[in-house]
Symmetry: C2
């Protein structure tokens, strides 16, 4: 006998509408795969009369999504409203308090309140499934929580924001400026009218905090993520990156170091031959390094109705099959509180671009400061000549601690012959680490 699985959908925006269409279109497929009949028991959205191209006949409408979440004939609640507080949070809390599992795409909510909500869920025998909150349809949360459960995670890093990746890809392919490409992306609907959430790295930082939580079994800590966006990436940096064998990507990186858990979102130079460098346009990609598995890579569309609905329904299918795992992979009362590693302790290589007066002795001054801070130069480009005027000097360093790098750059920036604040972009290495055996 097929028992039904009654779903409440709170939020009928792009994602909610796609979930609705997927569930209606693939009812038989889902029944074959889970043995359950997926039934949309009710929906809720702000505007009842909006045209969404959905056949809502026979589906109960709730003006208040909290009433939907609390309804006794709703087995599971899809929270697709969004936002870290307000109504989305109330819907989730209502469902969990009633012992119902929640499926959500809401990274902001979980990045800010994840640990508390996980405890609430467990108190009531419920859980929150959130594959859709990170990297769209790519099942990377499942990979970390389950598929790589036998590994100690060395590092997880990825391209987690499609808007930024689209802009950086366009900048590289066309040589245009950030502002120019952003304006076009806004016209095309790839970027919001208020783009700060994306281009300043906030969205990627929400996602990174969640990936780090599941990779390291810790409380998600958005406030512990070092965040830089892509506004200051210039066509010149992109061109130099290419020349040096790199591509510039907005990366989210989490790794456990001797100083604690490092979590950072910033533009990074990645080797052009690394799999992540090939992830272009609106695609997302995540690389996970585990001690036994070695390096694994996951790619796909990171946003949009279809891909996000795919992730929401995957979580629904798990729940329908009786799979109910802790929110962040380990029980909420066992989540660690890892010490955040300060960026000053970060160790890595750096790309530095300086705008200097083209006159003898300038390079000697710079080199002396770098030497004083034990920063060792790996490559240097100084090609254009423009005597007495400004020319760029670009260099990459060997591995060095960030506090040494920033101290050296502060002194370099104070030199009279240095015309602009030095520009620094971190280099993120690709490691094809030999797995343990």
């Amino acid at each position: 006998m097929t028992t039904s699985f009654r779903i409440g959908i709170a939020g009928l925006g792009t994602v909610g509408a796609s979930v609705f269409r997927l569930l209606c279109g693939h009812r038989e497929l889902l029944r074959a795969r889970t043995g359950r009949l997926f039934e949309i028991r009710g929906v809720s959205a702000r505007h009842r009369r909006r045209e969404r191209g959905l056949d809502l006949a026979g589906v109960e409408w709730f003006d208040d999504p909290r009433a939907l979440a609390a309804h006794p004939e709703v087995d599971v609640v899809c929270e697709l409203i969004g936002g870290s507080d307000g109504i989305a949070r109330e819907v989730v809390e209502t469902a969990l308090a009633a012992g119902k599992p929640v499926v959500t795409a809401n990274k902001a909510l979980l990045a800010h309140h994840g640990a508390r909500l996980a405890r609430l869920a467990e108190r009531h025998g419920a859980t929150i499934a959130w594959e859709a909150a990170v990297a769209g349809g790519i099942p990377v949360v499942k990979a970390l929580r389950e598929g790589l459960a036998g590994n100690r995670i060395r590092r997880v890093y990825g391209i987690l924001n499609g808007t930024c990746n689209y802009i950086l890809t366009q900048m590289r392919e066309t040589g245009r400026t950030f502002d120019d490409v952003l304006a076009e992306a806004q016209r095309l609907g790839y970027a919001e009218a208020d783009p700060g959430f994306d281009v300043d790295g906030v969205d990627a930082a929400h996602k990174l905090a969640l990936l780090a939580a599941v990779a390291y079994g810790g409380v998600p800590r958005f406030d512990a993520v070092h965040v830089e966006g892509i506004r200051h990436v210039t066509p010149l940096d992109i061109a130099f990156a290419e020349e040096l064998g790199y591509r510039i990507k907005l990366l989210g990186v989490a790794r456990m170091t001797e100083h604690g858990l490092e979590q950072r979102v910033h533009p990074a130079m990645v080797p052009a031959a690394a799999p992540i460098a090939q992830v272009e346009g609106v695609y997302n990609g995540v690389t996970v390094e585990g001690d036994f598995v070695g390096t694994t890579v996951y790619e796909g569309r990171g946003a949009g109705g279809g891909p996000t609905a795919s992730a929401v329904v995957a979580d629904l299918a798990d729940l329908a099959r009786g799979v109910r795992l802790p929110v962040f992979g380990v029980p909420a009362d066992r989540l660690m509180e890892p010490t955040p590693a300060p960026m000053s302790r970060h160790e890595g290589s750096y790309y530095i671009r300086l705008q200097v007066v083209d006159r003898p002795g300038v390079l000697a001054e710079i080199a002396a400061i770098l030497r004083d801070h034990a920063v060792s130069i790996e490559a240097l480009i100084q090609r254009a000549r423009n005597p007495g005027q400004g020319v760029p000097i670009v260099l990459t360093t060997h591995e060095v601690r960030e506090e040494a790098m920033t101290a050296a750059l502060a002194r370099i920036g104070d030199l009279a012959s240095v015309l602009e604040p030095p520009r620094m972009i971190r280099i993120e290495p690709f490691r094809d680490g030999e797995p343990a055996a």
Copy 2:
């Protein structure tokens, strides 16, 4: 209270020994993630005294792996012996008949006997988890069975054999012949003394049959897979591929067509810019196209102790957490028996290389035959001149049905001016399909 999860390991070769080391090294990690204490209750292998670098003190040794499988204090059996029949099969059957779940890396066993074993498992309330059987540590079985459960799968294709990919990568990078590179791979331990299982495509076909089963909810049918290996790939084909913007990979491809389920393993030209083309050396890569998720890609090491152990232990972690899914994603009695689509009905583009006498009129003869079979030429390379002697002609076609292509090639091969049997390699397109919304 932590309950223990008692594991029996049958087979202590490379994979079995790695599983042993992982379980011993990550006991606390696994306890945190699953809430269970993983205990190796017993092991069995052919040679008790062999030096494996494992501390077997306190672990019961079984001379007969069937006795291990049947032991009442063993909760789950890892079958890491290998082989489609014989002792491996008996161990699996013994465990299942006793109601115990089995974790295995044995693709041959499942490709040949999967449906029968799945029924046996379900009759006794057990299951078989086999992430390790395909693509090493990459959690692609989990992705298909769970992470993409909301999608109708359009196509799944991948590089499933690391030995072949290593050989093809080496051939491309060094220009050497298949025989030459194979001999080196054998010296280095990347290829077996008897390499047929790998280079003739049998191993990839086992894996493809399993991926197709879980993608389409069907009985795995190794005998329905069209199989060609890589022995006849020449440095000349690799060079022409490069010139035409392709790379040659041994692909396994499954897709549902109007003629039934197409399953094939053969050398294929893939666009050099496609993610799968970047998967080099011993790496494996799988691309899955779903109707809602669009195109997703999974990459990692496809073999070796560590990666395979990672997959085995992921399955153990699922079982320890109480996750118990049907062997091929849907209950055994609901597995479909899809009609195999004959290769004659395959539709695609082709790369053709002909060795012809360099004299006027030859091309006209060939073009006329192609026209007669409605084969339309997309690109043609005829560059070297060698009047009266042999020169290569290379062409690619637009999409055409394979029976037309082979009929045309049979006639072309009969031409007096064609000096060698025509060489044909299928072209596999990359589709960045717009997902549904």
